[in-house]
Symmetry: C2
Subunit: 382 residues, 2 copies
């Protein structure tokens, strides 16, 4: 009896009994905001294969993955940081690390998970294996635009102070902090290019953006696209939210020009505007297919039932589709042959072939928003 | 005592003991040429976790991965195509598909595996799930430089005919073939850029290379770097083997200039030479760290005990190391924080931190050559 108990305990301790032996390179998750759950996705099967509940407030939630593509780290709006095993579909760790947070990142070596917080303002860093606290970086400001860059570093911006900080953990758990001051008024979001070189912050209080070349010492910010909306009297305030939607397509960035029915094209070397494409509505995300040949655009209400596809070479719209009500997010298969689209108010994720534009599959989901594939584990700045 | 024995026996008997439930994003393989085996690697543990034998002649072998990062397809020099389950470490399929072959590729959707053959000359395409034959594309020529590009297409070149062909499987198992003729004499190797747009073939019979922009219809080849060695009387024949070693570092390609102790820099837009860096020996591979900030270079005999690191911005050598005898290959972790180096004649793989240049680990291996991480599954043209 004692022996049997021991054996049962031993078997329970082995996760293999519940979860199937499988590769994890074709998995992903979709955020189900209203139910505070994650839907686990199988790219190969075009199917949902499970659901993980109990993740708290998932409005504006984002997800990063461990290097082995087994664990998802979910950043909730309520300050919750949850580690999910997507093979066993269990929550394996959860901390309420702040009162109000926005976004997270994982270090290039996969050992550190960082979260940027509004309240209390700053960045907190955790051990990716255990979620034990590693470092607390108070900033005295709402903090956002957090990204990882090579060399065990994180970059983030301070809304109230108008600064960008680099926290370098290459020397251990005590980060070396470099502060770039005076980047401009009220950075509200930021991105880093896929190579981890260029950090760009949108400025709520300025008619332009701040660009930092992380390869050039000493670090400093320069203004780009400065005053480019000044000649448009119809547009007294010209902002560009959703910087994470910027797309590097070939030699140009595609920018969703919020407030106008346009996508802007910016040269990736000079950071100067080189063209515009008129689109169906006010763009929210402009996302490049991984090869950069196409840019897929979704739109704000009331045009959020529509997606348009722009050919990168010509800048012309080559396809339009109407997936359904409230298209919130688009995630490409890592090699670009498919795009997965969350259609929130249809409670569905649709999968499209990006060459033929045919719909391949429909997957039921509860008010899906963000879709994240495990291939992100291998990329910088996502 | 009996209890302990039983528990050990139980653990051995459980399938989990043979194949552990785990993510596959941090796995890889190293080719062991002399023993015809694959060493299975765990990036997170800096360790070898198994060996798969019976793969035939692995000289000049290469490997691609299934989208789920579970299966490796190994292309042997003897025409053998072997499918290996890296979780269970079993051979799950093997075909002798030709008498003499060189390189393979997997389609963007992961359903087709293609092999380019010298004898009989052409490309054969197989179902990735079953290894059943799908298509045979005889060319009447030794065929090489095979790569996958978006849209379920493969591109390859014909040594004898001086042509490049595109085989498009988007319509089904009968490929649509487009032939680009007159690209130049005797293409001997080729590469495609990471975005799948630019195909470049080295020409054994010409003092230049052929470049094809796969985004521009009709497809045609143009000559690049034409005659650029003509002004060097010391160098009557100037070739550039190992095109797969080309590195896109920032806005420039780094090219190993075989025959000289130099790395060439070529502008990625204009394809014109923009500089050279003098290096320790005759370079074999010049490989960019994934962020493009560094280029790591290894060398031909007798300098093949050395590796040099070039800073992309300055073009200067910033570090030199001597891992040991016969450095054959360098593979970066997908986010670039580590590089794994095969030191064949030391029977060892060394792992280095690319920021500090410190050696992190040594892994015993039998005459290792190529190292391939599963993250390649998510990339084009590898």
């Amino acid at each position: 009896m004692m022996l049997r108990t021991l054996i049962v305990a031993l078997m329970l301790a082995l996760p293999a009994a519940a979860a199937e032996l499988r590769g994890t390179g074709d998995l992903g998750v979709a955020v189900e905001r209203t139910t505070g759950s994650l839907l686990v996705l199988d790219r190969s099967e075009h199917a949902a294969i499970g659901r993980v509940e109990g993740l708290g407030d998932l409005s504006h939630a984002s997800v990063v993955f461990s290097p082995d593509e087994r664990h998802a780290f979910v950043f909730g709006r309520d300050g919750g940081l949850t580690k999910v095993d997507i093979l066993t579909q269990d929550i394996v760790g959860r901390v309420m690390q702040a009162g109000n947070s926005i976004g997270g990142a994982i270090s290039d070596d996969g050992t550190l998970v960082a979260v940027s917080n509004y309240e209390p303002g700053g960045v907190r860093v955790f051990d990716a294996a255990t979620l034990a606290p590693v470092a607390d970086i108070p900033t005295g400001s709402r903090t956002l635009g957090l990204v990882d860059v090579p060399g065990r570093r994180f970059v983030f911006s301070l809304w109230d102070a108008g600064e960008t900080w680099v926290a370098d953990f290459s020397g251990g758990p005590e980060p070396a902090i470099t502060k770039i001051t005076g980047i401009g008024a009220n950075p509200y979001d930021a991105l880093v290019t896929a190579n981890g070189r260029t950090y760009i912050a949108g400025l709520f209080g300025e008619d332009g953006l701040a660009e930092i070349d992380l390869w050039q010492e000493p670090l400093r910010a320069r203004r780009i696209l400065d005053g480019y909306a000044k000649d448009d009297p119809a547009l007294p305030v010209y902002k560009m939210p959703h910087l994470e939607g910027w797309a590097l397509a070939g030699e140009r960035f595609a920018l969703p020009a919020i407030g106008r029915h346009e996508v802007l094209w910016m040269d990736a070397r000079s950071f100067e505007e080189v063209g515009r494409t008129a689109v169906h509505g006010q763009p929210v995300f402009a996302v490049a297919r991984p090869d950069g040949r196409q840019v897929w655009v979704n739109f704000a209400h009331p045009d959020n039932d529509t997606v348009q596809v722009i050919d990168t070479l010509s800048g012309e719209i080559v396809h339009e589709l109407k997936p359904g009500p409230a298209v919130l997010h688009m995630e490409f298969a890592p090699r670009g042959n498919e795009v997965w689209i969350s259609v929130r108010d249809a409670n569905r994720i649709d999968v499209y072939d990006t060459a033929s534009f045919e719909k391949i599959a429909e997957i039921p989901a509860e008010s899906p928003s963000g879709i994240f594939f495990t291939a992100r584990a291998h990329r910088t700045g996502l």
